[in-house]
């Protein structure tokens, strides 16, 4: 396993990139520790797959260098980089047994029979595939096949990094729960460097210790799931992470106090807000808006019941705000008052949090 460093990487699919939008990846630097669990999270077209392909060597960066454990591998072939990869669609040899599928990457490297057997059985046990080892892979269900793909990614002990490219996208919700927690468990047991690429916030946030949020070829924020949820440094992160995303409302700041549509609102950082320039906005997540006796007057517009919680849409002076209310709390009808949790309310200038 290796420490992975990407230094001043830029990438363009065009021969002569000149304009800013010509770059699929704008300048970025990343330092990933050996044994960590990392996620690249962002919408389609944000550059996360480009970044993955640069690490695996399928693409060579237009600019910048890549290091594994301090060794410059920018010009090294994909095979020589010693990486295991798991893809969105399971890659399984249908005619082979589960055992042979798992053994394949090891036999390919001429590892002796006894060692192959040990590794295959160890990985099969972790993935609860022991009872199916002698079965043909073709008979397995979709999640069974994806387990084999995961197993093949894990079976080699000599790889520098294991990369997962949307591995659970085609899996049904129930099985996703099982495989997702399995993967996290495997990371905690093996402590391999793992990079997980996804557009699904739940997968990224539950799997990774550190999540890199990307948009338009740039890193918008890197942080722990808790940091990204509680302190989004950009309104994009606030919107993209969380379900529903963060409420972003127009505001003004006067004498270190934030005002939303004329209503005073306590926040974490309004006192740091100086100068008149730029667009000021207030961000507060639906989880941190609550009904109170005395606060911002609102009207309840719509209630959607998701079973374990409800999404309540409220209106204040023409501004729509979403709240996420747990099952056991009651929801007033018509006119009501709400409060934004002051330690979870932040002011943003032109999208970036005011510091």
């Amino acid at each position: 396993m290796a420490n992975i460093v990407l230094r001043d990487i830029r990438h363009s699919y065009l021969p002569n990139p000149t304009r800013n939008e010509d770059w699929a990846l704008k300048r970025l630097t990343i330092d990933w520790a050996d044994g960590g669990a990392y996620a690249l999270l962002g919408p389609s077209g944000c550059g996360k797959t480009t970044l993955l392909n640069l690490i695996s060597g399928l693409l060579k960066p237009t600019e910048g260098r890549i290091f594994f454990d301090g060794r410059d591998i920018t010009d090294t072939s994909p095979e020589a980089r010693n990486i295991a990869q798991v893809f969105q669609f399971p890659v399984v040899y249908d005619t082979m047994t589960v055992y042979d599928n798992l053994a394949f990457p090891l036999r390919n490297r001429g590892i002796d029979k006894q060692q192959v057997d040990e590794r295959v059985r160890e990985v099969a046990a972790m993935l609860e595939l022991e009872t199916t080892l002698d079965e043909r892979a073709s008979g397995l269900t979709a999640d069974g096949k994806q387990k084999i793909s995961l197993g093949r990614g894990l079976v080699r002990s000599d790889v520098n990094v294991i990369m997962f490219d949307e591995p659970l996208t085609v899996i049904d919700p129930h099985l996703k729960w099982v495989l997702r927690s399995k993967l996290k468990e495997l990371h905690q047991r093996t402590r391999r460097t793992m990079i997980y690429v996804t557009h699904d916030q739940t997968e990224a946030l539950t799997f990774a210790d550190q999540v890199v949020v990307m948009n338009n070829g740039e890193i918008v924020q890197t942080g722990t799931p808790i940091e990204l949820f509680e302190r989004p440094s950009h309104t994009f992160v606030g919107h993209f992470i969380g379900s529903p995303g963060m409420n972003v409302l127009p505001c003004e700041v006067k004498g270190g106090k934030a005002l939303f549509a004329g209503q005073p609102v306590d926040s974490l950082n309004a006192s740091a807000c100086r100068g008149e320039d730029g667009k000021l906005e207030l961000g507060v997540r639906p989880e941190f808006v609550s009904f109170v006796e005395d606060g911002i007057p609102v009207r309840v517009v719509n209630v959607l019941d998701a079973g374990r919680y409800r999404i309540v849409e409220i209106d204040h002076a023409g501004h729509r705000i979403k709240m996420r209310i747990p099952e056991e709390l009651s929801i007033p009808e018509g006119a009501a008052h709400v409060r934004f949790a002051p330690d979870r309310t932040q002011i943003y200038r032109d999208g970036w949090v005011v510091t």
Binding site: S44, F207, I226, L304
Partner: protein, 356 residues
Amino acid sequence: MSLELNKVTKRVGAEVHIHETSLILEEGSFNTLLGPTLSGKTTMMQLMAGLDRPTSGEIRFRGQDVTGVPVQKRNISMVYQQFINYPNFNVYDNIASPLRVAGMTGREIDERVMRVAELLRLKPMLKRRPSELSGGQQQRTAIARALVKDSDIILLDEPLANLDYKLREELRDELPRFFAERTRIVVYATTEPTEALLFRGNTATLHAGRVTQFGETGEIYHRPADLITARVSSDPPINTAQVSKHGNEVHIGQIRLPVYGGARNLPDGSYIIGIRPHHITPLARNAGAATIEGKVLIAELSGSESAIHFDLNGETWVSQSPGIHPFEVGSIATLYVDMNHTLYFDLDDRRVEGSE
């Protein structure tokens, strides 16, 4: 005035794809077919649309027998998981195509296209080709085409499955609004319980080619007829255990939990209980909470919620609650179960009436 499936079955060779099913979908209703992959959702839709013939039984629409009437002769629209648009047509012409096929003329086409384009927020991109659109815009174009011709029935087969998570969330929010104004029947297939719940309307839960329950979506979630329906309609998966009831307690191995509500009146004996993950939390919140201890398998902290997977008497259970609750793997977690929301099933997996 409705679409009626009367004792419909579908067999392919020796395999039963759809077991005998009778359903009535009312005019103007939104109906979700909820079930895992290969549970029969797509087959069911093909039968409803006339893309496929049932092996036995009949399909009636507005009182008329339409069994075996092909889709071309019926006024039906379909939207698939893969966005299907004409690549050489711009968005406008893609939306207009069913109207042109129906022989409609210039001005009427224009009025209708503009109306759905407005509804689906496609007005700024009417001149673009599908390849110049995002996935969400492409799927909105396909939905617009399905809406534009005033079909009697619109069938949507996992239309959001190929979209990014965030786009899915946005379209999920908007979809019911697109269908609200008309009297047509909407059928929507999904694997995701949350989608069914947020759409409200009616839900048919499917499992292995069988409709396990059909009714108002909230009713299915809160009062599932059987254990399979409870499983199909729960995300995260519902926790289950076989218990023996002794008076006002149930026993799971050495674990003893109190019984509340109507369930107290059940005769002593063996049952299966179902407890949804959000009714187990690391914080004692409710009066009906009972304490359990479980060995932590893994704790997933997403920033907003904590999912604690733990071993309870040999079963893997999950607790899911708002907030940040870290637990070490292998440690013993003390958790609180809200016993007021426990579902009771008999050993044939039927939910026991009067147990809530």
